[in-house]
């Protein structure tokens, strides 16, 4: 399972990472692997605001559809338009070109409450039983 050294994680398999004063958000390598071939990503509109834990989008594979949840509360400042034509980027490069949205968090300190790499690995280990 690949992790991003600069990111923090959620129990619902999203990652978040600072870039300037915004957070970039996507789904983890573990998540993309579990979903298998991703065929469509539904993203919000720029300017929309979501609370932490609220679903802001959906990832569809051939056989499954999963909600994607906000790690922290904030406003969407950008969405990855490349995913419309190339959803497979999420499988190929989940922490890089497969990013989903950028947000301006309501409270930057919320980021520190997220799981670090080790804690996230533990969550995954427990899920797999």
């Amino acid at each position: 399972m690949i992790l991003d050294p600069d990111a923090r994680y959620t129990k619902t398999h999203e990652w978040a990472r600072w870039e300037d004063d915004e957070l970039v958000i996507g789904i983890t390598d573990h998540a993309q692997e579990a979903l298998s071939d991703i065929v469509y990503v539904e993203l919000p509109a720029v300017g929309e605001h979501y609370e932490a834990g609220e679903s802001f989008g959906v990832v569809e594979s051939v056989k499954a559809a999963s909600d994607v949840y906000m790690p922290v509360s904030g406003e969407v400042t950008a969405i990855n338009e490349e995913l419309e034509d190339s959803p497979e980027l999420v499988n190929e490069d989940p922490y890089g070109r497969g990013w989903f949205i950028r947000i301006r968090p309501d409270n930057p300190a919320d980021f520190d409450e997220l799981l670090d790499g080790a804690a996230y690995e533990a969550v995954v280990a427990e899920e797999e039983g």
């Binding site: 065929v39 469509y40 539904e42 919000p44 959906v58 569809e60 594979s61 051939v62 056989k63 499954a64 559809a65 909600d67």
Partner: protein, 457 residues
């Protein structure tokens, strides 16, 4: 035993293999007292006997094979070519299941793909699904789709009062738990025909809270607003960020501009006219078409083209992650079984009639309806109402109540008369909605005119 092949020897061998003495033992999980029930049903009949009974029941009805029919209002007596029944009577089509195993369902899948293509061609849209239950439920699904396009943040729907009353009722049933505000058709108790068919008040109701605006073309009264009026309404909707949905008569599209050309985002309607037959109200066919970019929000099955491991072209159900079996609680619609075989019937109809044939059907409807209208308008006491162009249905004002006239037509002339509009639109007393299709001969129309004249003497 009906349709059950087991012999006593089979049963014994099977019970032995299972390791029980009797079939009853296999029901041990069903509480004894639940099994101690009597089922009071009539004594069974053999095939020979049941057909006698069914024939009696069938003959106790006044069908359009014996009566001239001028009744429309959402279900129409259109010609069904014999090839339609030939195809849908093939066991490989009608006894097949939903094509979840595509390798052994290419017949159904390709037939649906062709249907989708033809509906796109007909409606001027980019994507069609594989059907809903009927035109009314298609409209309800369009409302749900519009809500989802707006991520449930808009809660207003504007409906033209000239949309079929039962369609609007179904929209209200479907959305009764969704906390929506439905506007546009609240004044039908007070409106006359002019007011009911005016599109401008609808544009005035559209605002930033509106998810969708819907109209019907031709409307319930058979009339057609102009393409310019419709385009203006579409623009008003789009400016407010709302979707514009059109309920359309598919036969009219044999002649007239499709809604894709005047700004529709979603096109729905009743496909019964496309080879489905009247069948006392069902099974019918709800077609549903939209724009490419909205396809992920569209409910219903979708067939897509792909290739197999040897590069051969084939068809599969696709974008299935939209559907209930995957999304479950997050699905936009619960639709599972749809109207599969009726979709194939419609495809056969559209293929068999083709480019020229469908146009010819539409022309016949148009000319016959207009001939009927002209002749009736000339009768004293009767008047064709409404200033807009019409297609195959029109409204007449009658000198006596509609139900009295219809009783006379039925009893004396074996004619099934038009629809009494007062039952849905209280201001339209003595207003009858008459439909004329390619199935009505000139002689039938002339008889209708004579009968109407007599009915008022």
């Amino acid at each position: 035993m009906r349709f059950i092949p087991h012999t006593e020897a089979d049963r014994q061998a099977m019970l032995a293999a299972i390791g029980v003495e009797s079939i009853e033992e296999l029901f041990h999980d069903v509480p004894k007292k639940a099994r101690a029930v009597e089922f009071r049903l009539p004594e069974p009949l053999t095939e020979m006997e049941v057909l006698v009974e069914l024939n009696q029941l069938a003959e106790a009805n006044a069908g359009t094979h014996h009566y001239a029919c001028f009744l429309g209002a959402g279900a129409y007596n259109h010609f069904v070519p014999s090839v339609v029944d030939y195809v849908i009577s093939r066991g490989e089509f009608y006894t097949a299941y939903t094509p979840y195993q595509p390798e052994v369902s290419q017949g159904t899948l390709q037939a649906i793909f062709e249907y989708q293509s033809m509906i796109c061609a007909l409606t001027g849209m980019e994507v069609s699904n594989a059907s809903h239950y009927d035109g009314a439920t298609s409209l309800a699904e369009a409302v749900i789709m519009a809500l989802n396009v707006h991520r449930r943040r808009r809660r207003k729907i504007v409906l033209s009062p000239a949309i079929h009353p039962e369609y609007r009722a179904v929209v209200r049933t479907y959305t009764q738990g969704m906390g929506l505000t439905i506007l546009g058709d609240g004044e039908t108790a007070h409106q006359d025909l002019e007011a009911l068919t005016d599109l401008t008040p609808l544009a005035d109701l559209v605002d930033g809270e509106t998810a969708m605006v819907a109209v019907q073309v031709p409307n319930f009264f058979g009339q057609m607003a102009s393409p310019q009026e419709l385009t203006r309404l579409a623009e008003a909707a789009h400016q407010a960020g709302a979707l514009f949905t059109v309920v359309v008569d598919p036969i009219s599209l044999g002649l007239f501009k499709p809604p894709g050309e005047y700004g529709a985002d979603i096109v729905v309607g009743e496909g019964q006219a496309l080879g489905g037959g009247l069948s006392f109200g069902g099974p019918y066919l709800g077609f549903f078409a939209t724009r490419r970019k909205q396809v992920h929000k569209m409910a219903g099955r979708l067939v897509g083209e792909t290739v197999d491991t040897e590069g051969q072209r084939g068809y599969v159900l696709t974008l299935t992650a939209r559907e209930q079996h995957i999304r479950r609680a997050r699905a936009s619609s619960n639709i599972c079984t749809n109207q599969g075989l009726m979709t194939i019937a419609a495809a056969v109809y559209m293929a068999a009639l083709g480019r020229r044939g469908l146009r010819r059907v539409a022309e016949l409807c148009y000319h016959k309806a207009h001939y009927a209208a002209q002749r009736i308008d000339a009768l004293s006491g009767f008047q064709v109402v409404g200033r807009r162009p019409f297609f195959k249905e029109f409204v007449i004002r009658t000198p006596r109540p509609v139900h009295e006239i219809n009783a006379y037509l039925l009893d004396e002339w074996e004619i099934i008369g038009g629809y009494d509009l007062e039952q849905d639109y209280p201001r339209l007393t003595n207003h009858m909605l008459l439909a004329v299709t390619e199935m009505n001969s000139r002689e039938e129309i002339d008889d209708l005119v004579t009968a109407l004249e007599e009915a008022t003497q």
